[in-house]
């Protein structure tokens, strides 16, 4: 919950900066703009994804969490690294005093990612985790993303670790982050979670293997492109052609597998988290269609493709599932000990579907309009779309607090003591709470 709380604060901060004019069509390279972009990608999406992996990889691997004591230092290092990086970017706008923060950010982020990896990787090595192959690829991409980001950060500071990498490596850095780390991690956890939420059989071994192979090949080519850029200073056109074909192919295979799960569901009327995940998947399809023009033409095509992927696909998916995950975890904290002993509400009774739909609709609309505004280079329309996104994020944040406070539940069904909004309540149960004999 603390990961999600921190991520949401970074989301609100990044959108506030964007609404204040930090970014806009063809305007992403100022220090304050880069700060806003990294508050969004690193602070919001990356922290939310790491929190989700720490929470769900043990579930999906059917193993107890590994080294849970590392979660808090990992989160603190992640928050510190994000703040340091965002602050450091302001140095590019002439704020000399913050240069030190720029230099320390990669170190803090290495600590955060390293600690998180120490919790996740051992679970990915057990046999039950073969279904999480995309998460393994995602972590490889995260390592490369960090390396390329650290190289660029030190480049900007005048320390040339990899001289050829900036600015030509920027596209690869973005690809590693959006298509590699964030999207592959989302692919990896979504199969089982979607099947669980839809009450559908997982199966689909052939399609899933195809996704895994195509995704592995794509990531391999991105890494090869990075190495060639370092050694030769240029990415061969043939590699770009391969990526142009592979990126939509991976997405098409993944969407076919999710469509198969959806068709076989036993849940006739899926909940909001899955209905909105479907909209997020449509944005993923759109981003895949824009990938080719983005790779070859760059400029507004690249801006629109990346925006659609970050806001429409990854953020909408995260927000929709966050409502479900927060209500589920809250239910476990409050009501699970009462199972079989007293009447308990259902998980969805903790939510307000109308409020969730209202805010997720606004988010989806903001994402679509913002992407179009970038494609058509319309700064004012883009600013309006950011306002819609900020309003939606505020609404969803309030909704998540309401879920934690059990506000949507009949007052008579609320317990006398509510769980803390962010940090987990200490477990006060003992073996004596559940006597085995009557």
């Amino acid at each position: 919950m603390a990961w999600f709380g921190a991520a949401l604060l970074f989301l609100l901060l990044s959108l506030t900066l964007a609404l204040g004019g930090a970014v806009g069509p063809s305007d992403w390279s100022r220090g304050v703009g880069l700060a806003g972009v990294h508050l969004f990608t690193l602070g919001w999406l990356c922290l939310a994804m790491l929190g989700a992996l720490i929470q769900f990889v043990p579930v999906l691997a059917a193993r107890p969490p590994v080294l849970p004591v590392l979660a808090l230092p990992a989160l603190l290092a992640g928050i510190g690294g994000t703040v340091a990086l965002a602050t450091g970017f302001l140095w590019l706008d002439g704020h000399e005093a913050v240069r030190g923060a720029f230099l320390v950010a990669p170190v803090l982020l290495a600590v955060a990612f390293g600690l998180a990896a120490a919790m996740i990787v051992p679970l990915l090595l057990v046999r039950a985790s073969h279904k999480l192959a995309e998460v393994q690829l995602a972590l490889v991409a995260l390592a490369a993303l960090w390396a390329s980001g650290a190289a660029m950060t030190y480049n900007l500071s005048g320390i040339d670790l990899m001289p050829a990498f900036l600015p030509d490596g920027l596209g690869l850095h973005v690809l590693l982050g959006v298509a590699g780390w964030l999207s592959l991690a989302a692919f990896g956890v979504s199969y089982t979670l979607f099947a669980m939420f839809l009450l559908a059989p997982e199966g689909g071994a052939a399609l899933r293997l195809a996704v895994r192979l195509a995704a592995g090949l794509t990531l391999g080519l991105i890494l090869l492109a990075g190495m060639l850029l370092l050694v030769q200073g240029v990415v061969p056109a043939v590699l770009l052609w391969c990526l142009t074909a592979l990126l939509p192919a991976v997405v098409a295979l993944y969407l076919a597998e999710v469509a198969r799960i959806w068709r076989l569901r036993r849940r006739a009327d899926p909940e909001g988290n899955m209905r909105w995940s479907r909209v997020a998947l449509a944005f993923l399809g759109l981003a895949a269609l824009l990938a080719g023009p983005a790779l070859w033409l760059g400029g507004r095509w690249a801006e629109a493709a990346i925006f659609v992927a970050l806001v429409g696909w990854l953020s909408l998916l995260t927000l929709a599932q966050m409502v479900k995950i927060v209500s589920f975890l809250t239910w476990i904290q409050v009501f699970a000990p009462l199972i079989g002993r007293a009447p308990v509400p259902l998980v969805h009774h903790l939510t307000d579907p109308r409020a969730t739909t209202r805010w997720l609709s606004l988010w989806g609309g903001g994402g679509a309009v913002g992407g179009l505004a970038l494609l058509l280079v319309q700064p004012l329309v883009f600013r309006l779309s950011v306002a819609a996104l900020l309003l939606a994020a505020l609404g969803l944040g309030a909704e998540l607090v309401a879920i934690r406070r059990l506000s949507h539940l009949d007052p008579q069904k609320r317990p006398a003591t509510l769980p803390p909004v962010i940090f987990p309540a200490p477990d006060k149960r003992s073996a004596h709470d559940h006597a085995r004999t009557a």
Binding site: L60, A61, P201, R341, L346, T437, A438
Partner: protein, 93 residues
């Protein structure tokens, strides 16, 4: 026909809901076996996924529900994952 303790246990478990779907554990196909040996009940149950974070709480809930049946003085509830649960185990409806 006399109502057996086994019937009473099954009836009691129909009152324990899966908090996600709202369906009871019997209808979800999560109760694999109910055995009654005198005043002792043994239950084999599963969860919809092996790593389910609620697994132990569901097990304790089933135990509490079974111990609420008159005539049952002790209960052992085992979590089993073979055969694995699939949606095909759900009752129609």
């Amino acid at each position: 026909m006399a109502i057996t303790l086994q019937d009473q246990i099954e009836d009691r478990l129909r009152g324990v809901q899966d908090p996600e779907t709202g369906r009871d554990l019997i209808a979800m196909g999560m109760i694999y076996d109910i055995r009654v040996l005198g005043d002792r009940a043994e239950i084999d149950m599963t969860t919809t996924t092996r790593g389910c974070p609620m697994a132990d709480m569901l097990r304790l809930g089933v135990e509490a529900a079974v111990l609420g049946v008159e005539g049952i003085r002790s209960a052992e509830v085992r979590l089993v994952w073979e055969p694995p649960w699939t949606p095909a185990r759900m009752a129609p409806g």
